[in-house]
Symmetry: T
Subunit: 75 residues, 12 copies
């Protein structure tokens, strides 16, 4: 979805991931991307599709995010 | 919406809540769940439907989240 | 969904209602809210989710609205 | 959401439920409604919001449906 | 979309119409249904898909509604 | 919506239907299509837009589906 | 969104407005357009994005509409 | 969906069509409209609901568009 | 999308599949999952995105489902 | 919506425009952007929200696109 | 979208903004609003339309939010 | 999403791609498919999810499309 000039000749593939964290939404995003970066090197951007979580005894136990992640096919 | 094996024989009810906080989005989520947990004990998960807030003199005064919260009917 | 300053410390619950009227859309909204106000006192706002109706012999027989209604949990 | 003539003077409340079944989608619908009918007597219609399920060893272990259920407030 | 018992054995067809009126939204709905009833006799219900209109010199000149209208195939 | 090679030179028209059944979702789909096939011969595919139903005494009395059905204009 | 022949060579800009009224939905639409017409002269059409309102003591206190309004850039 | 003054007293019917072309998107739109114009004379506007196509050996074999087409009922 | 406690430290990947069956919707779901399980071992849940099918001589010839399927990246 | 590194410190404003052309979709996009560029200099990207058009005597008379256009506030 | 009593006689305009931050989602919201407040004084509320970001070497480089911001026209 | 008879026993996987072109929308679609066809042989159909682009000095610099592409798992 990026639209800057230097990207004209790139083709992206979009991947959907679910990440989670006990700390917060940003940490759940980072966890999903860190884990996926072990096998996918050229991730460029993400988009949050859904934010949710787990509740235990009236407290948020962890946050969960569903991400669409774009990476270049050239690598 | 949870879909794990040990939950096969549960029926959930979904409730919609609005929570708010001056600190941030995660705190607004927790506030809604803490308040609702006074009368609903078996809350299991939530989903953020909308994130919004109030602005005063060019600063975010507080955040507001609309949540769908699932809890078991068995209790 | 309201976002004004004096509401910072409120938690809302959202309820979904269906109201109807032979007169018009505004009257169907008011009917749903009047009926619900017998058991729910602190209703604050509504949002129209769907507008529909019943036809008989080529005339609108009545209007039907689906509303999401927000009320405070404090009462 | 029903819109027939004899329903003109009814107000409905809509409830969201999650039901599940190992047999199939229709059975998951019926399970949610049977369970809820213990406390809510005047359920009139439902609408399937989402169909999902749990997988174990490459087989569907159970189906899960999210329903919006309408019932009259008069009773 | 009606779901009452006496309708179990009916098949409906859904038609999409645009109606307009200088007076208001309910009148635009009625105009579309009146006009269509000249050729379609068994219309049973409608649903408003969109509400819009035309502006002239800072005033609403007329309202326009897009309706989905259901009628039985039996006739 | 089909997109296979031999269909390049076809124009489809899409029709919206509501079918119902006491037995289940697949039977409601088949009922709508059977009934419509009396007047429309070249139906090729369908898409389920909504699944809903009627409840009586805590049991599903019948299922209702809204379908978009495509057929060729050539016949 | 209008698409008539004489408009081929126009470029529209779309503005989003919120209007309100104690009287009804049409009046809330007119109020938003009247107020905006003080600074924007060439408004041509509107579309209702959302209809909502405020409740006080079980009565609708006022209606609120969110509009998308199109106007020509030529003036 | 047009909303110009001279159209105040028209009622439109909306039809959904699928057209296709090996050349491009505009040609697929025109093909659907040309074919439908053999039986429907007063088509006034269209809206593209979906754009898709068929792939063969890594090349787009043809484009397919789903259109909503509006025409006046007066003729 | 699962949100239970024991899943806190998992990252899921979501895959989209299309399955079909002449028997029914549940069988089409199972077919897609069985086929995919040959190469993807840790599938945990699915969500039905669309239900559709093929019609031949006025009968449903087969059902088709589009699924989003989640599996853990750990394996 | 662009998400590249060199854009970290930019704030964008999004504007909605309607453009049209007798030639085709790309030309309608370009017309809207050319016209708007007379008063807005720093437009960076666009997104097509809707594609529609006008029909005359069974031919597409012109195409119309609704665009969301992003531009930097810094200029 | 606010719906409280003291706002009955206000007309709001809605603006769409994109903000970004290396720190987190709340900071990206605040950045967009701070920057816009230099030219728009009476901003009252915001709604998050989309949350996304930029990835570099497997880490989130910055967060990006798209906001709809409402402000009164009276000033 | 294809639904023709000869496809009954196929399972499809859906992939999401972003392609771009300086020439136009059809060319951006073809570029994404050509590039992906180097590693995925049995692509059968695509669906355009979003159309957007990059603007430079008031001109469209390139078009960008997001596609969902279906291919058979059998090969």
């Amino acid at each position: 979805m990026p639209a800057t000039a230097e990207m004209t000749d790139h083709i992206y593939k979009i991947l959907e991931l679910v990440g989670s964290s006990e700390k917060g939404i940003e940490d759940a995003i980072q966890n999903a991307i860190s884990r996926a970066s072990k096998t996918i090197r050229e991730m460029k951007w993400f988009e949050v599709v859904q934010t949710r979580g787990h509740v235990e005894n009236g407290s948020v136990r962890h946050y969960q995010v569903i991400l669409r992640v774009g990476f270049t096919l050239e690598e």
